[in-house]
Symmetry: C2
Subunit: 205 residues, 2 copies
């Protein structure tokens, strides 16, 4: 299949979002959880969490245009804190259900089997049972002019990882946590076997 | 394992980059290819390509701090064009080798079995044999103050996908292309089986 930008723009809406959401490759599968100042918790699935740096430890994620409801954003801006929790095989359906559009006064924790948990006096809730969980402090945001989305950056201030995932050199083996990867809008994989490569140096002639 | 920000900052360097590169979850595995005005091609592995929007079709990726060599960036700024090509099982080792730091006058295509291919008069080279290949036009960039990285956004102007990956509703089945996902700095998975979920609506009480 070969499409130009014009062809893509003319595609049927659903076909287009399925197609274009798939072409970036596999995506991370995370639940981002927050709590409003009125103590209403919120949890939502995000496939755009990405590594920005290790030193300091910074993750970014992308929010949809400002024209739609963004409870996650409203809460984290109000409080300064949020959590990122890896989605695993055991919670796939509940995690995906958080993509339903609930009004802000309803907590997705009450509408699914996901359980909130509070650790080390952190303001935002963690999702119980996830093998990797992080408490983040909001750092900064960038308004993306090209399509009115928002990039939010935060610093990892608390990090919880199930011990059996961690290898001797710090590598976190995501398959041991049955961690999910996302394909497109709604395809969930549990990747199983991997190859670790070595550090690469230029080849001599 | 529980670590605070202070604990993370004090970790041994290699342990820290292995750990923090793993905690965003699975990452996309792409080769970004460019060609300088002097006609020297460049190709490099990136794990930060992420979907920003479908309408128009926009992808972003993150570049390392401005203190290091960035041939990809220099070329795409100079020409305005680059390609993104999905990494698959057959080219894992060659793709990973492009992480070696070659000077700008050397093409990684000459130092690996990766083959460049030019399609539809597009300025930048594609990687032969990849099931999903995209020609992008540079749109805009954001300098990330928090850690001096750079977010580059581009629009898909040409899209090539092997037909057998595409399902009736536009979903691109990445496993049919033996597409890779990245864990951390150097772990490569070929995810195999998936579940597709349905569109979620709020549950009634």
């Amino acid at each position: 299949m070969y499409l130009t930008l014009d062809d893509i723009n003319k595609l049927d809406y659903l076909y287009k979002i399925n197609l274009i959401n798939s072409v970036s490759g596999f995506k991370s599968a995370n639940l981002i959880a927050t709590k409003s100042k009125e103590n209403i918790a919120n949890v939502a699935v995000f496939s755009s969490v990405v590594h920005y740096g290790s030193n300091p430890p910074i993750l970014g994620f992308v929010l949809r245009p400002s024209t739609v409801i963004r409870n996650t954003y409203d809460n984290l801006k109000e409080t300064g804190y949020y959590t990122i929790n890896h989605i695993h095989e055991g919670i796939l359906e509940d995690a995906h259900h958080t993509s339903a559009k609930y009004p802000s006064e309803i907590s997705e924790f009450d509408k699914s089997n996901l359980e909130e948990e509070y650790l080390d006096a952190f303001q935002a809730p963690y999702v119980k049972g996830c093998a990797v969980r992080m408490g983040l402090k909001y750092l900064e945001e960038y308004h993306i002019k090209a399509n009115d989305t928002l990039l939010v950056l935060g610093e990892i201030v608390h990090l919880y990882i199930d011990d059996h995932l961690i290898e001797e050199d710090g590598f976190v083996n995501l398959s041991k946590g049955k961690t999910a990867a996302i394909n497109g809008l709604d395809g969930y994989f549990i990747p199983e076997n991997h190859t670790r490569m070595t550090y690469q140096r230029p080849k001599k002639d």
